[in-house]
Symmetry: C2
Subunit: 196 residues, 2 copies
DNA sequence: TTCTTAATATGATCCATGTCATAAACTGAT
DNA sequence: ATCAGTTTATGACATGGATCATATTAAGAA
């Protein structure tokens, strides 16, 4: 999001992390702005019973975990690398300075944050709807609208396990519900891949 | 949020609405920035079965419904007045101009948006936790931390119906669960009022 | 005050999803 | 090619919250 040549003027640290490593934990206080150079980060909550709920996932060029920086509030979720990941780590003070000196980038950040808010609003709405078919279908439609091209059958490039983590539904339920959706003709299964 | 003297330089309209009036509906495209002068607005989703889920509620001085403006995306929820409400209505183009000309207010907006994001993250986490007691208790603790003073017993100034709408739990369940929480000693009931 | 509406309350019943167990299919690493 | 870990799959069963019905209490309007 922040161009490399800009962020590097503010003396960020570069961080290299192996796969499946926690960068920070839910409850930690934020001190840095993070931006991914390569790799992926997921923000997750772990329930009391050890089940994972994914708040979001971010890849190359994307930043994450900004909201608590603005309030010195504890992180609402933990950040974990998905694969080997390299990222910029910029102290919050410098981050604020950067925003101040680059109004255009500040506006871009606002744009990104509002997009994530709309995503969260959608998920919350679906979660308040206790119908698994509806939840999964709406989510797939969101993905299609967001990442799909034209009217081609759209490949849902997520495992059932991931859908489970993203929607807060148990994986067995996802498996059975996807099967139902295929029987209804709402989605198409090619092998195990889900299309819509 | 935006001081009256600033916003008025951008020629906003003033809108007076009676109670229980929809300002815009889920799915509508956004054209204006809204800021409440007096009264209250709630942002809600209505499920297929007519049940209401509240995304947020806003009062005097607060703005709402900004995220879609940044993307020309449909509102993820409807806005409805709670009581008689007066608000500023500013065209999006002028709103962006205002942000550009007032970096301090832009930063304040970012701060407000990130706070709401953290709220949503918390609710999502709780919603992925299928335990009613936990959900209600965590929510009350959030309110206490946010609005409570010191260590005084904190009055949860919401009806069980409102808790139901905010958490996506049926009102009967809220009633029964609050009763359980009182029996556990987790909350105190004075009459029907909930304290913690 | 009276009327109307919303909130609270409680019991009975239902059912979709969670839970648990087990196994096969797949994937990636060594 | 082999092994370990993950994903998908399926059945049996349990259960917490949803639903439905009904009644009481409280709050706000006329």
């Amino acid at each position: 999001m922040i161009p490399a040549e800009v962020i590097e003027k503010y003396n960020p640290t570069k961080l290299k992390l192996p796969a499946d490593t926690f960068l920070f934990m839910e409850g930690d206080l934020p001190r840095f702005y993070y931006q991914i150079i390569s790799g992926q980060i997921k923000m997750i909550n772990i329930n009391t019973d050890g089940k994972e709920f994914m708040q979001g996932q971010f890849g190359g060029g994307q930043s994450f975990g900004e909201p608590p920086i603005f309030h010195n509030a504890p992180y609402p979720a933990s950040a974990k690398t998905v694969g080997p990941t390299v990222l910029y780590k910029l102290h919050r003070d410098k981050f604020f300075q950067l925003l101040k000196e680059h109004p255009d980038l500040h506006l871009e950040l606002t744009s990104i944050l509002t997009k994530r808010m709309m995503y969260k609003a959608m998920i919350m709405k679906e979660m308040s709807n206790h119908d698994a078919q509806h939840r999964i279908l709406t989510f797939i439609d969101y993905l299609k609208k967001e990442y799909g091209t034209n009217n081609e059958p759209f490949l849902v490039n997520l495992t059932r396990q991931q859908l489970s983590n993203l929607l807060g539904i148990r994986v067995e339920t996802v498996i059975r519900t996807v099967k139902q959706l295929a029987e209804n003709g709402e989605v198409e299964l090619r092998g195990r891949k889900i299309f819509r």
